[in-house]
Assembly symmetry: C3
Homo-oligomer: 347 residues x 3
Amino acid sequence: MHDSVMGKWLNNAWYVAAWADEIADGPIERTIIEQRVVLWRMERGGYGAVSAFCSHRRLSLANGRVEGDRIQCGYHGLEFAPDGRCINVPCQASVPPGADIRGYPVAERWGLVWIWMGDPAAADPATIVDVAHWGSADWGYNRGAAMVYDCHYLLIADNLLDPSHVTWVHRTSFGGTSGETEPMRIREAPTGFTVSRWTTDVPVAPFYRDLVPFTGNADRLQQYEVRYPALAVIKAVFVPANEGGDDAPANPRAFLMDSYNFITPETAGRSRYYWFQMRNVRPDDADLSIAMSAAVLSAFSEDLAVLNEVQRGMDTATGPYISIATDAGPLRFRNRLERLIEAEKSR
Amino acid sequence: MHDSVMGKWLNNAWYVAAWADEIADGPIERTIIEQRVVLWRMERGGYGAVSAFCSHRRLSLANGRVEGDRIQCGYHGLEFAPDGRCINVPCQASVPPGADIRGYPVAERWGLVWIWMGDPAAADPATIVDVAHWGSADWGYNRGAAMVYDCHYLLIADNLLDPSHVTWVHRTSFGGTSGETEPMRIREAPTGFTVSRWTTDVPVAPFYRDLVPFTGNADRLQQYEVRYPALAVIKAVFVPANEGGDDAPANPRAFLMDSYNFITPETAGRSRYYWFQMRNVRPDDADLSIAMSAAVLSAFSEDLAVLNEVQRGMDTATGPYISIATDAGPLRFRNRLERLIEAEKSR
Amino acid sequence: MHDSVMGKWLNNAWYVAAWADEIADGPIERTIIEQRVVLWRMERGGYGAVSAFCSHRRLSLANGRVEGDRIQCGYHGLEFAPDGRCINVPCQASVPPGADIRGYPVAERWGLVWIWMGDPAAADPATIVDVAHWGSADWGYNRGAAMVYDCHYLLIADNLLDPSHVTWVHRTSFGGTSGETEPMRIREAPTGFTVSRWTTDVPVAPFYRDLVPFTGNADRLQQYEVRYPALAVIKAVFVPANEGGDDAPANPRAFLMDSYNFITPETAGRSRYYWFQMRNVRPDDADLSIAMSAAVLSAFSEDLAVLNEVQRGMDTATGPYISIATDAGPLRFRNRLERLIEAEKSR
């Protein structure tokens, strides 16, 4: 495997720091690409994000309070603006040198709070991934809490770039019985890779059985777009058997589900996984949304169990390990990502 | 900050090892300035203290039994006198060389068992800090169990030498609303530092409200005496407004509370905190004693939460951090303490 | 003590990997002399054992499924034969080089699954220790679950080679009051050492009181045979007082109990302990078997508590420690074991 990229981070990227509602009640601390940050909701709206520890005694500012736009330290009352500047030190007339800390650009989009870990001048919220059909009355939405994986984020990206795992890991959920021999098509874009395949005339896999608005066998599209460094948009399409294919016209009986997956590396051994789904059926059915979130959580927990164990194997075993045919997508992804990281460093 | 002292220990000092009643039922093991010791109550009274591990197979003698004055190992029955000499090895005629372990001087005072970690010849129980009014029928007494802080003991000492933290950390207990701008007076003695201030004509802080035997605003003395390496006697005085000051005569309406705080370093990242209070009101009111202990525990838990987090910040963050005006006392204390430790080494 | 042997492993040996019934429901992972292995029961009977981690992505094969004789990885479906050869890689035509993993010889005997950690050519199940009276209608049997000790296996072997510890560790179970001064007889064999002693005309120790088929004092044999690297057969004999001795004839009133103890090192700080007992009284008394297992577990838990604490002492304390007279057996055992290990290396 292409392991050298696993010790490096892409800085110039928007990472999901939290669901917006996780910050509603006070400041929170997060670890993102090995950096501790504190985020807070400003009284006038919007968010601040700074490096986590007060410049005086290193108390995490998550133990402090929001005062207007600022975060105030819970030990001696030092106050910091969202850009990290120290504005006030109680019991003395002026702010001493060295009191400022790092500030991070923040943006709220799709119910999530995003943080930019690289050069602030390069932070452009318009580059945050688009979510099709957001707010559309014809599409339903469901989400889950953030999941914590005890593994490197690229193990999760590998998994998303390798749909063949579905056969073994998701035997009773996403998996079918006939998919494992279909070849994958791989397309490259500047933002990442897309792997996809049509499987034709197969029974609908258990997870989707109650969602698909037709009976009998289906043609099934699995499409996994994974963007650097670790964000996946997964499109599932089911149409009646023999009506599918990349060039087939829009199908009124198609079931469409877009799954958005945002992976935030905390450290080399721990990641957070934020996800939601959009679907083109029964948009207002709240019970269905709850059931879908539960089913997704259940299936993703199968990935989590396997990937945490893979991480344990990587941490424990010694000597080389091999790559196989289904690693083609992950290997190309890692290769390109490492080039991006190297380019960022040399800038 | 003056950090170099944080990796060094003062040996020639009495440290609190335990409440006397913690040793009543059998030997206990404690870690004090990174040394493991076992303490036991001898059958004839008094205490023994030796290095924790049997010289044979290193079973902690806390797993053994008291036999007369001696501690007997729970594995093969080796017996050690309070000075650490091995007196008996079962199944053989004589005690082999190398069987002795280190003994430590011990003294019981103020309901606490103290251990001397330095040169035994220099151990003088008369140098243990005095407790005014001990046993007086006019003074009440309350105490709590030992608290375990996951931080360096000097972070606790810093806190005791810096009353300004009360405003931010003890917002709803010891804190008032007007104290933060009063200057601190710092006095030095051979045993440590005393910082104090009178705050005049202020409302009585929540913690003291039901204790003070007068109504209306008060003049308040906060006096923190911190002795090397980490022992604090805190005096609180409340008198009616405009009757206070260092030179004011004894005031029959004064409320006086002395708080004794003994911090025992276990390791560089863990400390034990023993405390009790003496008060000049309602000495026999057992309910009040219980209520006071609960209130003190609650307030000290606010310190504990902040200081454990400061330790985490110190362990996690990199790069420099700054000092501010309120660090004057802590900085001088650390400086002098380091000189004491260096002098001890060169002796 | 003879410590140098503690960092070395004897490879050419049968180690207990598990109770057979622990593997009945699916593959399990075990750590044995620092090697992770996965064991499974084949559909046609018998067991497979291979190094734990898949050669592709290092998922432990304990997360996989048994397919016929093979173990199938739970991530991408790679299949391994019991000898470690990779037989199938899905989604591609052939098995790539480097896909094979290590296989281990396995044997089932005495209800236990044994694994050979050395040269497969040298694996001979006939060398597994014999169990006298196995299956005899005149002998009862009882067993317990495997116990996990957080200590080096040689600390357990020490203990088994040193019956003097009974006096101090098993004060209220196996211990008597008069045994500690009797000398031990030590005999050496190619497979290990046997220490034994007859204690004459003593009260029956609490553990055995309800088992011995006579009243009054007894002559008691304690015999501990410990084989390399860490397997003990302990024989207890009680006969009426003055009827014992190595040369005494078979005694119809004798109570005999054989205790089998198999210690499997996981790492230098963790061991698994499998045990069962055989007795010559009330063979079909199931309640007695249950009571005996409970009593043995209780007494062995006394050893476990002490030995885990000894390990902690070894990990914590610095400087030398001493040997005493009762260490003679353990020291000779360690010395011979180290020679065996060295001989194995030079082969």
